[in-house]
Symmetry: C2
Subunit: 125 residues, 2 copies
Amino acid sequence: MLARLAKAGRALTAYDILDAVRAQGLRAPVQVYRALEKLRGEGLVHRIESLNAFVACAHFRRRHEDSVAFAICETCGTVSEFAVLATARALRTRTRRSGFVTERTTVELRGRCAACVGKGSEAGA
Amino acid sequence: MLARLAKAGRALTAYDILDAVRAQGLRAPVQVYRALEKLRGEGLVHRIESLNAFVACAHFRRRHEDSVAFAICETCGTVSEFAVLATARALRTRTRRSGFVTERTTVELRGRCAACVGKGSEAGA
DNA sequence: GCATCGAACGTTATATCATTACACTCATTT
DNA sequence: AAATGAGTGTAATGATATAACGTTCGATGC
Ligand SMILES: [Zn+2]
Ligand SMILES: [Zn+2]
Ligand SMILES: [Zn+2]
Ligand SMILES: [Zn+2]
């Protein structure tokens, strides 16, 4: 299942994954959600909140949910993961001043990836 | 509908809102979603992606979806909106270096608000 | 006035995402 | 062996969101 996610390069919904792994014997959504929960616990999978979908962790590091961001291309669906340690720290500090204790951050950017921007400008020229 | 959202102080799902406005004649989800879409377009409502829910804009400013963040209390559900102009700019600059053109950012923090942290530590002491 | 058009709306049905409930298996403990 | 408890598979359901389609109604042109 993790292999499928990693190969996809984009976010897959739980039901996308379900379709992909039916051959391996998984038959019901709850099985996929349980597996995803486990993988998320191991830091191998991230959830993209704005897509209700999942990606394989690109960094093979454990537990960095608190300082990761995603750039999501609206045109081709590609999801790129990058670390935002300083940004996350700044946000935590900022809210801490009003008494809010941050446990987790979600940072997701929508836009167009280099490849799709290139294609777009070609078409427009 | 906007009044209901503003009064709530927390995020409401479309179906929460639907229940609240049945008295006003709205009967179906799609009507609520259409109204929300309009209000979002006017910058009066924000969507909280990690909750699949909606809040009234706390700033009464138009169109700042690209630089707003939310601190969401996991204990009491309170959502606080704050501006993150510098942070959003930094993220855009950062991804721009790899060719990604950002159109919109989602920044959501989960944790515990001042009130709930206070109660928690009292209980723990 | 009135035919035509198109945006907005209401209704129904359906699609999509996620969890609950429960029975069964199997390894661990006593 | 019986009791316990974690994990699993199945079915059903709940929660979120959109599609499809006919109607209303104001704007436009004749
Ligand atoms: Zn990662
Ligand atoms: Zn792209
Ligand atoms: Zn706002
Ligand atoms: Zn709170």
